[in-house]
């Protein structure tokens, strides 16, 4: 049995480590990214300022950053269900794509419908498509014992291939196939926007609704508690009675539906058409967000806001310094990487 130490020295050390775990990743990321920028010919301080300015510089930019935030938060929330059930839904990227493809199909077939009906249909179809794509992962896991990591990644690549096929083939633009995407959506298939920004209250409403819903479901319903039990131990006698296979499938379906919703926002809001990388790494960033947030659902909000800021600001750097468009992603991943290194500090032997 462990005896909790009241040794003042180790208490002080623990407090030190906690503050270090917060500060070190920030400093390390800034330093390393600064060096990388400098190596590629961009003055670091100016580049950092450009990221912030690119994301928050004026109301339009703030609106666009917020628009990126919504699908990211929704995906992160969706991941909570599968994580609680002990699964790594790495296939989220593909589920977002599946939702986006389904939305585009509806737009192509139903552009005669009135706007509100069309948008609701698009959302519904996106959720179903995302859920179905996730169901593949779930089935492969539950019936086939195939790790959801492999099926997820495999399905990501397949979804990506299907998208490219559609963009260069049946759904190509009339002026000729181009990798910049399909023909842009007609006005009634777009989310209602504020003036010149692409920000839409629909995206924000969906995000807030899902945040509240997820919080309630995971913390206050029986189903949420069941998921958590299954995540903790799949083999105990108690969890066997909870029908873990069924719960895992349900978690994947919910997760996929939310990914589909994100796909809906990505097509009808952010890009306004189907493009090659329609999921824009949201699936992967959402995983990072959940890893950083730990068990705290509300922490997801500032973390996702930060990620969307860097995404939006990073695209500015791409224009200014001809950086590769992976620069935003790199900054984010380095941040996550250093956080992980720092969080390991509290696991040192002897502590």
């Amino acid at each position: 049995m462990e005896v909790e130490t009241t040794d003042w020295r180790s208490n002080v050390r623990r407090k030190w480590i906690r503050s270090l775990q917060f500060l070190l990743p920030i400093v390390a990321t800034v330093v390393v990214v600064g060096i990388l920028f400098w190596m590629l010919g961009a003055p670091p301080l100016h580049a950092f300022w450009q990221i912030i300015d690119g994301g928050l510089g004026d109301w339009m930019k703030i609106g666009n950053t917020l628009l990126l935030f919504c699908p990211l938060l929704i995906c992160a929330l969706g991941l909570l269900y599968t994580f609680k059930a002990g699964q790594w839904n790495i296939g989220m990227e593909g589920q977002v794509t599946a939702g986006a493809i389904a939305v585009t199909l509806v737009v192509r077939l139903g552009d005669q419908l009135p706007r509100s009906v069309l948008l609701m249909l698009m959302l519904l179809v996106a959720m179903i498509a995302g859920a179905l794509w996730a169901a593949f992962c779930g089935l492969l896991k539950v019936k086939g014992q195939v790790s959801e990591i492999f099926s997820g990644m495999g399905l990501n690549f397949i979804a990506s291939g299907v998208t490219i096929f559609l963009i260069c083939g049946p759904w190509r633009q009339s002026t000729g196939a181009t990798l910049s995407g399909t023909t842009p959506y007609p006005e009634q298939a777009l989310l209602p926007r504020l003036s010149s920004s692409r920000f839409s209250w629909v995206g924000l409403a969906l995000a807030i609704a899902m945040l509240a819903l997820t919080y309630l479901v995971l913390k206050r319903t029986t189903w949420g508690v069941m998921l958590r039990s299954i995540g903790l131990s799949q083999r105990s006698l108690i969890t066997k009675r909870l029908n873990p296979s069924r719960r895992i499938m349900e978690a994947f379906l919910v997760s996929g539906a939310m990914a589909g919703t994100a796909g809906f926002i990505q097509t009808a809001g952010v890009y306004q058409k189907l493009v090659v990388s329609i999921a824009g790494n949201i699936g992967f960033l959402a995983i990072f967000s959940v890893l950083l947030a730990g068990n705290d659902i509300l922490k997801l909000v500032p973390i996702c806001l930060f990620f969307s800021l860097v995404m939006k600001g990073g695209s500015r750097l791409q224009q200014l310094y001809q950086f590769d468009y992976s620069v935003g992603l790199l900054v984010q991943i380095l941040g996550v990487f250093f956080v992980i290194l720092a969080s390991g500090l509290s696991n040192r032997k002897g502590d």
Binding site: W88, G144, S151, F157, G161, D324, I333, V336, G344
Partner: protein, 304 residues
């Protein structure tokens, strides 16, 4: 055996080699109980580093640099998961994305640049052997490395005491520890060795069968290698057979693509992943594959 078949088999052996090397490395790591999910990123980064160094200092140094890069990635994984006991899945995943993003970003100046590579060098006597010689011994040096590594791995695992210890720390680290085997130290070492193999595999892309560098040069191959370890049941010979089987199916799908013009061109790009999923389904569920069990302690940190 007519020339067409011999040439096809030779191409298959050549194109299956990088996957083989990467899968062997991962097999060693997993035998010791550690999963290295960072393969995709590791392969990309080491293949970039290998290419860059080779462009300035020659292929040999490029290969060494690639191996070091692979080991470095593995070191980060090993340190965080063994010394700091963090989740192998989480650390591996983050390292994978880091490798991908770094290689995309740092590789920009080198896209589509011509560079050196190891071309085919027939071995003096062996390549004269009627059929086998042409297929296996008239290849780039990477192929020879891969065959050597298969032999070394098999011998190490089956015939040496060290190999027994390796298997022990992956199957039952508690008992191994009680017998005096330094479980975590050995896990660390074998993870590094596996990473070195992965680095070599990366080099065998950019300095071998896929010379040069492009964005996402080896994207997705790491996952195929990971699946190959499972499909090969953590056994070097079966991994070799699996790698060549996989390479032949991939070539076949490319051939089908050419022969049937109506098919979407993305099909052959997507085929490997479909095959991967099917292969995994197959192996996990047929009882004839009972001997393909994973090392018992795979993925579980060991507290000494």
């Amino acid at each position: 055996m007519n020339q067409f078949w011999i040439q096809s088999l030779r191409t298959i052996v050549g194109s299956g080699t990088p996957l083989l090397i990467a899968a062997l490395g991962e097999m060693i790591t997993e035998k010791s109980g550690v999963v290295n999910l960072s393969l995709d990123g590791s392969l990309l980064l080491s293949s970039l580093v290998g290419f860059v160094i080779a462009s300035h200092f020659g292929v040999a140094w490029g290969v060494i640099a690639a191996c070091i890069t692979g080991s470095l990635m593995a070191f980060l994984l090993a340190f965080q998961t063994i010394r700091r006991r963090q989740s192998q899945t989480m650390v591996g995943y983050v390292l994978m994305m880091l490798g991908i993003a770094l290689s995309d970003f740092l590789g920009q100046p080198f896209v589509m640049k011509p560079g050196p590579y190891w071309s085919r060098t027939p071995l003096p006597i062996l390549s004269q052997v009627p059929v086998v010689g042409e297929i296996f011994f008239n290849q780039s040096p990477f192929v020879y490395f891969s065959l050597l590594l298969v032999a070394v791995c098999w011998f190490w695992l089956e015939k040496t005491r060290h190999g027994l210890e390796l298997r022990a720390i992956g199957e039952n680290p508690e008992s191994a520890f009680r017998r005096g085997i330094p479980v975590n130290k050995l896990r660390f070492l074998y993870t590094l060795v596996g990473g070195c193999f992965v680095g070599l595999a990366g080099a065998s892309y950019s300095l071998g069968i896929r010379p040069g560098w492009t964005r996402g040069h080896t994207l997705g191959e790491g996952w195929l290698a990971l699946a190959l370890v499972i499909f090969g049941g953590w056994n070097p010979i079966r991994v070799l057979l699996g790698a060549y089987l996989f390479a032949s199916l991939t070539s076949a799908s490319g051939l089908v693509q050419k022969l049937i013009p109506g098919l979407p061109p993305q099909l052959s790009g997507v085929a490997p992943y479909t095959m991967m999923i099917i292969a995994l389904m197959f192996v996990q569920n047929r009882s004839v594959f009972k001997r393909y069990k994973a090392p018992e302690a795979l993925g579980r940190p060991f507290k000494e």
